[in-house]
Each structure stands twice: as structure tokens, then as C-alpha cells.
Amino acid sequence: MATPDLHAYANPLRFRRLAVAFTPWLLLAGLGLLGAGLYAGLFLAPADYLQGESVRIMYVHVPSAWLALGGYLGMAIAALSARIWRHPLADLCVQAIAPIGALFAGICLVTGSIWGRPTWGTWWVWDGRLTSMLLLFLLYLGVIAIIHLHEDRARGHRMAGLLAIIGTINLPIIKFSVEWWNSLHQPASIRLSGSAIHADMLWPLMLAALGFLLLFAAMVLMRMRTLIAGQRAEARARRLAARLG
């Protein structure tokens, strides 16, 4: 009763109703925006004065990086609220986000590597930014692994949540790695003070990023519905087994 607002959405049935209503719109809008953003990025936006055409990898690489970081923060907040408020859906939210975040971190690493080969002259270096981003990918994999490590599901969620929370320390390290330490990776182009990306390239990037974000949200909602359904099926099977046994 202390936090009625949060718990209003804790009811899995009510959550499911909302998720069912929102998912198709998120999917539709996300696909539309992403399609428009990628079309603009690949065909309308100009090539770069130095990088040439390879600059176009940015329209996938940068949104993936943002979502990998933002998704991790969301996952850690869910893990924290699972520990503090015992929100019944929070642990499922952690489990729902982890593989999607890992996917985007993986896309970020692979596209970055493909861009790095012609631009820098190497697929990979162990500088601060690349290393901390690889660590983020491994943290996601660790969270996924630990959830399934324990026979006791609640215990697995608790340990995975702990890793998710501790891992947030990596987020500012990723963000500021290019400022704190000499690195091969360039510093941020988009800052509060303005953008070092020309407007003709910036708007397709923002469209693509928004599209990826909505798709990310839709995928998380779909995965949460799957996990809730799995949980209910498991509970039903247990009840049935108890009755028969």
C-alpha cells in the first residue's frame, strides 16, 4: 500500500492486457521509423568527407550501442526493484531484457569491427572503449547464464540481479572511456553542447535510433508475455502433478 502505483502494474494479468494492446503499435511504428531511417541513411544521406561510404555503418552501429547501454540500465533498475520492492514482474523483466540487450551489444561490436577495418586499419584493438563494450556484452551473457544456473529459479534471479546491478559500474566506464584514457575510438560526436555530425546525417541517425528503440520495447514486451505464460504453465503443471500425486 506504500507504493500503489507500481503495484498496479505488478498484476501479471493487467500487465499482459497492456502489453497485448501496445505491442503491435510499437512494432509497427518501430519498423516504419527504422525503415525510413535506414533508407535515408543508406540512400539520401551524403558520404563522409574522410570515411566515404563506410560512414553508413553508423546508422546501425550507434543506435545499437545506445540501446545496449540503455537496455542494461533498464535491466539493472528492474533487478534493483526486484530486490527492494519485490515487484513480481521485475525479475521477469531482467530475464526479458538480457538477451535483447546482448543482441544489440553484439550488433554494436560486429558493425564497429567492420567499420574499424577500413577506417582504422584493424578489426579490433584492446582500447578502453572496445574492451569495456565487450565487457558489457559478456555481462549480458553472464546474467542470462546465471538465471538458468540454479535449479531454484528465485535463487538464480537473485544472483543474476546482483550481477546486473554490480555491472552498472561499467556503464560510465564505457561512456567516458574515450575521455579518461587515450583510445583508438573517437570521442562522442553528440553532446549536450551540440553535434559534430552534420545535420544531413544526423536526422536519419535519429530516425533509425527511435525505430530501434521502439522495436527494443516491443521485443521486451513480447518476451515478458512469453515468460509470464511459461510461469503460469509451470504453476499449472505443478498443481496438476500435486493433485495426481
Binding site: 551524403p46 527492494i84 582504422w120 583508438l184 573517437q186 552534420h198
Partner: protein
């Protein structure tokens, strides 16, 4: 019913305390890593504390304008890497990355020679944070805004 909010508050306080400890640990680790986590040394760093001759290090900075010289063998190049504090002549034998050019950032892996120049085994081009179409870049150059930003040499 009264016990629940207290337990909740206790968990919240514990979580906040843990977050505080974690943040302090992060700051300490970051400060400790300051030197070892740097991917390269700038010419100024090398001038300030010269490395052992023959020891493999990475040198990063801007390729000085007008300094690139191609040797007759067609493979060896000489150029000067600089930052706002010092300059260092570099020799490299091999294929240069596409983005290698005067005024751009570069990271060379190699070692100092007894002669006082840097012998590079590997050469990587550094890209800066500026993204723009070629026409804009030309217009900016013409307008007297050179497109060379200072290399990212950290704090």
C-alpha cells in the same frame, strides 16, 4: 502490516549503501587505471618520460602537415607525429590505412630507436568525432576553418 514498509526501507538503505560503495570502488579503480588503461602515449608524454629504447609502446598524435616523405623503395615512409607539446619523427615500412593522411590522428605501435626516432611496426589511423559531407568539409577549409581537431589525448 507495519513491519513491511520498515523492511522495505531497510532494503532500500542497504541498496543505497551498496551503490555508494560500488561508486567509490569505481572511482578508485578508474584513477588507478589512469596510466595503464591508456591505449597510447602522446609525443608530449614520451618527451616528458622517455621510454626504454627497443621497448614496444604505442604512440598517438597528429601527423604533422607536410612531414610525410616516401622512400624510393615505395614502402617506407617517414613522418612526424605531434601533439601540442612535442614532435617525434616516425619511420614505418608497410601499407598505410586509407585514412592515413597529414593532419589526421594516427596510432603507431613500435619502439624508440637509439637515434631518437620512432620505428613503427603497425600503423592505425584514428578517426575524430566529426562527420560531414565532402562539400561542407571543402567549404569549411575554404572559409579558413582547418578541419584538424586536437587528438584525443585524454585528460
Amino acid at each position: 502490516m507495519a513491519a513491511r514498509p520498515t523492511a522495505k526501507r531497510q532494503r532500500l538503505i542497504l541498496a543505497l549503501a551498496a551503490a555508494g560503495v560500488l561508486a567509490i570502488a569505481g572511482v578508485v579503480a578508474t584513477i588507478a587505471l589512469q596510466d595503464s588503461a591508456a591505449y597510447f602515449k602522446a609525443p608530449g608524454d614520451i618527451a616528458a618520460s622517455p621510454p626504454v629504447i627497443g621497448q614496444t609502446i604505442r604512440l598517438g598524435g597528429l601527423v604533422k602537415d607536410g612531414s610525410v616523405q616516401h622512400a624510393p623503395d615505395g614502402l617506407t615512409i617517414r613522418f612526424v607525429v605531434m601533439d601540442n607539446r612535442a614532435e617525434l619523427p616516425v619511420r614505418y615500412k608497410g601499407i598505410t590505412p586509407d585514412l592515413f593522411r597529414e593532419g589526421q590522428g594516427v596510432i603507431a605501435t613500435g619502439a624508440m630507436t637509439a637515434a631518437g626516432d620512432f620505428e613503427a611496426q603497425q600503423l592505425l589511423a584514428k578517426h575524430d568525432e566529426n562527420y560531414m559531407p565532402p562539400e561542407v568539409a571543402r567549404a569549411m577549409e575554404k572559409g579558413g576553418h582547418p578541419l584538424k581537431s586536437a587528438p584525443n589525448t585524454g585528460a
